[in-house]
């Protein structure tokens, strides 16, 4: 009897253990299930390379290029801000700060991650957007720049905590050897430690990119939601995520528009899958 009970428990544990794989597969299958019908009507080339996203006009046009470029622009902008800032912050926490304040700083970074994206979007809308508008003298402050700035802060917790782990994981003797040879602490940091921690920092950046590409609410509220090909940071853009969130509610179930939004979801899924895979490979390398 006892044996049987234990057998059942262990099988249940194994099953729960496999759930993660099952769910990843399920997510993909159910996105494809809805999305695949789309390509019956629209050739993939028109979809990926088309310049116009007019899902509600007749004839409807589903050119995804403006959305891809919108996501790309916002991601590049936010990374330009958050990579230098985040890595510097990670170095400060790992190497420089008085240990007494270390926990406070780490808690602060964690709390930044805890603020819901809709709140960040709301605060950005009310504070940052009017500033951008008046500083650059624009017709609207809802621009790729505003989105990039807010997203940079949302990527920061990921970048800082993973980069900090990577820096802390660098063997002590590397630093000690550098110091013994007469290097200052700073020289040891930027000539020795950063090199040893590079794969981990790269993984941190990748995961930060993944975080930013997948971010939805804040982007939708701040970037202006104009599905046109952007030329500068000071124009409104629309990202892949915001398109799904904004249009799914008004699309008719079973219409081309509805299927198209699922295809956008599949593309997002594949992008983040690749990013996470690459980051994981680099993190795995450090552990060895």
């Amino acid at each position: 009897m006892k044996k049987l009970k234990e057998f059942i428990i262990e099988k249940a544990i194994f099953l729960s253990g496999s759930l993660s794989i099952i769910f990843v597969v399920l997510i993909f299958v159910f996105l494809v299930k809805e999305g695949v019908l789309f390509f019956k009507y629209v050739p993939p080339k028109d979809f990926l390379m088309g310049n116009n996203w007019y899902p509600l006009s007749t004839p409807e046009q589903f050119g995804m290029l403006p959305l891809i470029l919108g996501s790309l622009l916002v991601t590049i902008g936010s990374m330009l801000i958050s990579i230098p800032l985040g890595v510097a912050c990670a170095f400060y926490i790992a190497e420089v700060v008085n240990p007494k304040f270390k926990d406070i700083l780490k808690t602060g970074v964690e709390l930044l991650a805890a603020i819901p994206s809709v709140v960040i979007g709301f605060v950005g809308m009310i504070t940052l957007v009017p500033w951008v508008k008046s500083i650059f003298n624009l017709p609207t402050g809802l621009t790729a720049l505003s989105g990039s700035i807010m997203l940079a802060f949302m990527a920061m917790p990921t970048i800082v905590s993973i980069a900090e782990d990577a820096i802390t994981a660098v063997p002590r003797r590397y630093k000690e050897a550098a110091l013994a040879l007469g290097a200052t602490h700073w020289q040891a940091m930027y000539k020795v430690i950063i090199v040893a921690a590079a794969p981990g920092i790269f993984a941190a950046v990748m995961l930060g990119v993944g975080r930013v590409i997948g971010e939805t609410m804040a982007v939708m509220m701040i970037t202006g939601n104009a599905a046109v090909i952007p030329h500068t940071f000071l124009e409104p853009v629309r990202t892949l995520t915001a398109t799904i969130a904004a249009e799914m509610g008004e699309s008719i179930r079973g219409s081309n528009h509805y299927y198209a939004l699922f295809v956008v979801g599949i593309i997002l899924f594949i992008i983040t899958f690749i990013i996470n895979f690459v980051a994981d490979v680099f993190l795995h390398r450090i552990k060895k």
Binding site: C89, G108, T216, M221, L261
Partner: protein, 281 residues
């Protein structure tokens, strides 16, 4: 340049970077508290919205968010803990475990809006749950799963090997060992992980957009197949789609939401710090 001077400059720059990273948190909190506190009243917290959501309270949204967070965690906690036990105690260093870990990493990295699409496709349409509390809870539960698995695995991992060896050498079976000698010591860590992941999903908007959230629903749900209002979605709606709403109402809603998530988070973080100090081995 003198190397001491350049170190001074470099460290100042690093300090400023850390400051720029942390300050926005304080700034956001201060701005919301300062503008939102005047809206908070007994009526605001306990009444339904009225007048096209321009006045009245946010009670249905608070209750909806509470149900969603509780329901999601109730589903995800047992599955996540068992998944964590499998990874920490049973899994071998082989290809399957590699794939499993990759699965967890990817599940954690799936964009929140894609979870929304998935929930729509599987729960709302395929399983015919409709736009309902149960669809929302299940979607959020899957989203919460990877962080609970990871937290459980880490908590179990920190229990010393010798605990297991002693129990096994006394003739206990593998499951008895886990159940009585390992799990109790890992429990605080697991609870902390659950609190923190619960805090995270409380603020999620995108996954509930198409699976559960109601634009305006002034009464409380009577079954799991009902729609509910939720705080994050309500904040989105009133701040973008209701013209002429008073600023203090939106700030007040944002305030209630961040009090929800930040207090859960702070509780989790403090619990964790405290437990780390308590550890006897």
């Amino acid at each position: 340049m003198n190397s001491r001077v350049s170190q001074k400059i470099a460290f100042t720059v690093l300090f400023l970077s850390a400051l720029v990273t942390i300050l926005p948190v304080l700034l956001i909190i201060v701005v919301i508290v300062k503008n939102g506190i005047s809206a908070i009243s007994w009526e605001f917290l306990t009444a339904a919205p009225t007048n096209g959501m321009r006045s009245g309270g946010i009670f249905p949204a608070i209750v909806g968010t509470f149900y969603l967070a509780l329901g999601a965690t109730a589903i995800s906690l047992p599955l996540g803990v068992m998944g964590g036990i499998y990874l920490s105690e049973y899994s071998k260093d082989n290809m399957f475990t590699r794939i499993l870990k990759l699965g967890i990493v990817n599940l954690a990295g799936v964009p929140s809006i894609v979870y929304g699409l998935f929930g729509l496709s599987l729960f709302v349409i395929y399983l015919k749950f409709g736009v309902s509390l149960i669809s929302g809870c299940l979607t959020l539960a899957i989203m919460e799963l990877p962080s609970i698995i990871t937290a459980t695995q880490a908590a179990l991992h920190s229990v010393p090997r010798s605990f297991r060896e002693v129990s096994l050498s006394l003739g206990a079976t593998k499951w008895q060992t886990i159940r009585h000698s390992v799990l109790p010591h890992a429990l605080p860590g697991i609870i902390t992980g659950a609190v923190l992941s619960n805090a995270r999903i409380t603020g999620e908007t995108a996954p509930i957009l198409f699976t559960v959230a109601a634009f305006y629903l002034p009464h409380l749900p009577s079954s799991v197949l009902d729609q509910v209002m939720a705080l994050p979605y309500h904040l989105y709606v009133i701040s973008t789609q209701i013209p002429g709403i008073s600023k203090s109402t939106t700030y007040g809603t944002a305030l209630v939401l961040i009090v929800f998530t930040l207090s859960l988070n702070l509780f989790g973080i403090i619990l964790r710090t405290y437990l780390r100090r308590q550890k006897k081995w």
